[in-house]
C-alpha cells in the first residue's frame, strides 16, 4: 500500500515536504507511467506520495503587473481555456498528449519532469520564463534555463515545490511553433521548433528561437538571436545559410526509437529556414 498525503493548503504541502521524503504528484501523468509494473499490478511508490493538483492557490493563470503568472498545478486543459495564457503556449499545449491527459497533466509537472521532449519548455525558454520555488524557509526565483540542468534533472531541492511560472508580458508579432511527432495525439516530439519575433518598422526588434528534443535540454542562443536583431526580413533571408550553420553546431540530436539524428537535424534547420523566411518583408 502507498501512504498518501492530501494537504489542505500550499503551506501545508510545504510543511509535509519539509518533514519527510515524499513524492509530489500533480497530474501523475509522468509518475504513473514511470512507476507502472506488469499487467494487473498497481504502480509502485517506495515513499509516501503527496497530491497537490487540487490546491487552488497553484492552479490559476493571471496577469500581474507586466507578468503572466501560471500556477504550477495548472492543467493543460485550463491553460488552453484561460485568456491570460500566451497564444504561442496555447499552440504548444494543444499538441500535447490527448484530451484525457491534458485534463490531468500540469505545466509544473512538465517542467519538473525536465524531459528533453517536454513540449512547454521550448516556449517557456523563448519567452524568458522564470520559476518560483518555495520551501517553508525560503523562496527562490530562477530562470527556467537555470532550473533545468540535464534530462530529468533540475535544481529543485528536497524540501521545495514549484509554485508558479512567471512569463514577462510582451507582444510578439510573429509566433511560429511546429511539433513533429509520429501521430496527431499522444505522441512524443521528435522535434519542436519555436520562433517568435517582434517587428518594428520592417526591422526585427526582438527575436527568440528555440529547438526542443534535439539536445539534452532546450537549445537557445541569445548570441545568435542578436545577430538577427536590427535586420529586415530581406537581409535575414540572405543570412539563412549562415544562421543555419550556427544552429547546426548547437543542436545535438540522437538516434532513438522515435526518429534519427539526420532527420532531426535537417528538419529542425528546415523549420528554422521557414520561420526566418516567413518574417515580414521577406
Amino acid at each position: 500500500m502507498v501512504r498518501t498525503y492530501r494537504p489542505q493548503s500550499f503551506q501545508e504541502a510545504l510543511e509535509i515536504k519539509k518533514g519527510a521524503p515524499v513524492i509530489t504528484i500533480a497530474g501523475g501523468t509522468d509518475l504513473m507511467v514511470k512507476r507502472r509494473r506488469s499487467t494487473g499490478l498497481s504502480p509502485y511508490f517506495e515513499v509516501p506520495a503527496m497530491f497537490i493538483a487540487h490546491l487552488g492557490e497553484i492552479k490559476g493563470v493571471r496577469f500581474d503587473g507586466g507578468n503572466i503568472r501560471i500556477g504550477a498545478a495548472c492543467s493543460f486543459a485550463v491553460l488552453l481555456q484561460n485568456e491570460a495564457t500566451p497564444p504561442i503556449l496555447k499552440t504548444a499545449v494543444s499538441r500535447i498528449a490527448s484530451p484525457a491527459v491534458r485534463n490531468m497533466g500540469t505545466i509544473g509537472g512538465n517542467i519538473c519532469n525536465a524531459s528533453p521532449a517536454g513540449d512547454t519548455l521550448p516556449v517557456l525558454y523563448a519567452r524568458d520564463a522564470s520559476v518560483v520555488l518555495k520551501s517553508i524557509d525560503q523562496e527562490r526565483i530562477l530562470k527556467i534555463s537555470e532550473f533545468i540542468t540535464a534530462p530529468g534533472e533540475t535544481v529543485l531541492r528536497e524540501d521545495e515545490l514549484l509554485k508558479e511560472i512567471v512569463i514577462p508580458e510582451k507582444p510578439f508579432d510573429v509566433n511560429f511553433y511546429r511539433k513533429v511527432g509520429t501521430g496527431m495525439t499522444n505522441t512524443i516530439s521528435k522535434i519542436t521548433f519555436t520562433g517568435i519575433a517582434e517587428i518594428l518598422n520592417g526591422m526585427v526588434k526582438d527575436i527568440r528561437i528555440t529547438f526542443g528534443a534535439v539536445a539534452p535540454t532546450v537549445v537557445r542562443s541569445r548570441v545568435n538571436e542578436e545577430r538577427l536583431i536590427g535586420h529586415s526580413g530581406k537581409e535575414i533571408e540572405k543570412m539563412i545559410p549562415e544562421i543555419s550553420s550556427l544552429y547546426s553546431a548547437l543542436i545535438n540530436p540522437i538516434d532513438d526509437q522515435r526518429s534519427n539524428a539526420f532527420y532531426r537535424r535537417s528538419v529542425s534547420l528546415r523549420l528554422l529556414g521557414h520561420f526566418l523566411r516567413a518574417l515580414p518583408g521577406c
Binding site: 513533429v180 496527431m184 526509437q257 535537417s266
Partner: protein, 775 residues
Amino acid sequence: MGDYINIGRSVRKIDALSLATGADKFTDDYEIHDPLYIAILYSPVAHAEIKQIDVSAAEKVRGVVDVLYYGNVQRVLHTTAGQGYPEPSPYDALLFDRRVRFVGDRVALAAAETREAAIEAVKKIEVKYRDLEPLFDMEKAMDESAPRIHVDDEYTKIPAEYRPEQNLAAEIKIGFGDLERGFNEADFIEEQSYRMHYASHCAIEPHTSCAYFDDRGRLVIVTATQVPFHVRRIVSTVLDIPVMMIRVIKPRIGGGFGGKQEVILEPLVALVAWRNKRPAKVVMSRKEVFISSRTRHPMRVRLKTGVKRDGRISAIEMDCLMNTGAYGTHALTVLANAGGKVLPLFNKIENLKFHGRSVYTNLPVGGAYRGYGATQGYFAFNQHMDIIARRTDQDITDFFKRWHIREGETSAVFKALGEGKEGVSQVINSCKLDECIDRGAGAIGWHGKRGKRIESGRNRVKGMGMAIAMQGSGIPGIDMAAASMKMNDDGSFNLYVGATDIGTGSDTILAQIAAEVLKIPVEMIIVLSSDTDLTPFDTGAYASSTTYISGGAVEKCAEDIKNQLLDTASVMLKAEKDSLKLDAGKVIDKKTGKKVPYDKIAYHTLYIQDQFQIQAQASCTASESPPPFIAQFAEVDVDRSTGKAEVVKFVSAVDCGQPVNPVLAEGQVEGAVVNGLSYALCEDYIFNSKGRMVNPRFWDYKIYTAADIPEIITIVVNSFEKSGPFGVKSVGEIGINGPAPAVANAIFDAVGVRMYETPMTPEKVWKRMKEEGVN
C-alpha cells in the same frame, strides 16, 4: 435476389447492448475460484543454448507452486498455428526448449498464488546461456555460412518443401507459359523490389487464457481465441490429454486480426491446471504480446514484368522472400497467398512464374495477420502497376479496368496455388470491380486532383493514389463449419454454431441468415457460439470464411428447420405443403389464407401429436473461394518541410457480394483501412543490433488514434455470388490490402518519390526526397 426482411439490413449487433453495459464477459472477466497465476520467463538473447537453468530460488518464493521448463515438461513437437489438420505449418516448436531462437522465446514459467509472486519467481530463475551466432538478415538465411536455427527432428505433417538445414521453412514454385519468350517480346522490362515490415495485430485485448475443472474433473479452458476447436486439438496433442476431457469456451473477444489464431497460452494454462489440479490463469502484458506472440511476416517481393508499349504485360515473375522468424507458423500458406491472392487478378498474363521462400531467422515469429500475405503481395503489385501505367501514359484506373479478371473468367493460378496443397480451379461468378473503381474514383475526385500537385497549405502538396485487390472467402476443400438449431415453445430458435465471433459481429449475421430463411425477426434467434461441448464444429474465424462457409451451414440448417415447419403446418392446416409459405413467424396457406403461428407449431410438436422437437444440424464446406474485390483511393498531403505524409481522405469501394449487414460490412472495411494506414505510415518494430525489439509498448509503437484517422468513405457495391448463402462473399480481410500501396502511389503523385518500403515514416519519405533531390 429476394425481398429480404433481414439480409441487407443493418440490424443491431446482438451483443451491442451487453458489451456497452459491460455485462458481457471477456476472458479476464471470468471469475475463477482461487487460480494459480502464471508468469513467463522470456529469452533475453536471440540465439543460444541453455547451458544451465536453476529454478531453486524461484521455487522458494512465497506462494510459488510450480516452475516449469524443458527439464520437467514433455517434449512434443507441434505448431502453434491454429489451422486445419494436418496443419501446413512445420512442427518445429516445443512448449519449452533447451535452445532459444529469438528475444522473447519462452524459457520457463512460474505459477503462484498471486501475480506478484509469479512475476517475482520468474525473475529468480537463473539461466546460463551459451550464445550462438544469431541470424537477423533474411536475405542471408540460406547462405552456406548462415547459422542453423532448427537442428533437431522438426518435420512437416504434409508433403511440402521443408529444409531446416538451410533455414528454409517453406518453398513454392509454380509457373506457366514461357517466361523467357515473354520477356523477349516485351518493349521494356520493369523490375523492382518492395519490402513490408513486421507488425503487431494490436488487438486491444491481449492474449488471455484461463483453465479450471468442471464437476467431473474435465478441463475447461476459457480463452481469447479465434480457433476454439483447434485449441482443443492442439492442447490435447501437446499435453496428451484426451480430446474428450477438454472443453474450450470462447467468450467475447477484444479483437483478433489473426493474432489469436495461434495456440500460445492455452497449453500453458492447461498444463499448470492439469499438473496441480487447480485453476490457472495467464494474461499477457502488451510487451509480451509484442515480443512473444505473433506478427505480420515481413516480406521482400521482387516483381519483374515484361511490358508492351500499350501496357500489356507479356511476362511476370514474382519472387517472394518471407521472414517467418524463429518458427514456421503459417510460413507456407502466407507465402502462397502472396501469389495466390494477387496474381489471378491480372489473369491475361500468359507467361508467369512465382517463386516463394520462407526462411527462419532469430527474430519474432510471423503468423496469421489480416490480409495473410495478400497485403504484402499487393503492396508490390499496386505500386508496380502504377509504375507501368505511368510509363505507358495511362491513368491507372483505366489500366486496371482493362486488365483485371472478370465474371466468367478464370486464372490458372487458382489451381496452382492453394493453401498447403494444390488450389482449386474456379470461375469468377461475381465481380463488380469496374463499378468499384468508378464509384471510388468519383467519391474521391480522382480526375480533378491526380497529377495536379495541388498546394494544400504552406509547403504541403497533394497527391492521389489508388490500389485494387481481391481476397478469398474461406479455404476451399479445407475449411468446414457446422450449425445446429432447435425450436422452443414460443417459436424462438436456438442457433448453435462453432463459428467464432471475435468482435466482427458473426453471431449477428449468422442469426440474420437463419432468421431470413425462417422469415422471423433476428430477436427470435438465440445464438450460442464457440463452445466445444455445446456447439458443433467450425475451423474458426480466419481466412475470411465465416460469412461464406459458416453462413452456408446456417442456411442449410435453417432450410431443414423450414422444411419441418412446413411438414407440421401442412398437417395442422390440412393443406398441401406446396401451397404453404413462411411469413412473419407464421406458416400461411397461399390458397386459403389460413395460417398457423410458429409458437402453435412448436406447441403442437412438443405436446400434442406425434411428439418430436423441430431441430436440425448441417455442415458446410466450400469447393471454391469466391473473391471479394475492392478499389481503394488515398488523398495524401505530403509536408515538404517534414516529409510527413498525411492521409486526408480515404475511399474504399468493395464488392463483397450481398452484404448481410451493411453497417457491419462497412465496419470491417473501415477497421481494415485504419489498421492498414496505421501499418503503412507509423507502426514499426525497431530492433537493436542484438535482435531485441526496443519499442514494445504503445508509447513508442504508434498506432493510429482517433485524431489520426482521415475522412473515410466506404461504398458497398452489391453483387450476387451464386455459390454463397444469399449471395454473400467475404469482407473481413480485403480492406487492409489497399492502404499501403494507395498511399505509396499518392506520395509518388505528390512529390515524385517511390516508397519501396514500409512504414512510410516522415524519416523515410524525407530520406527518399533527399536521395531523389526533390528537397
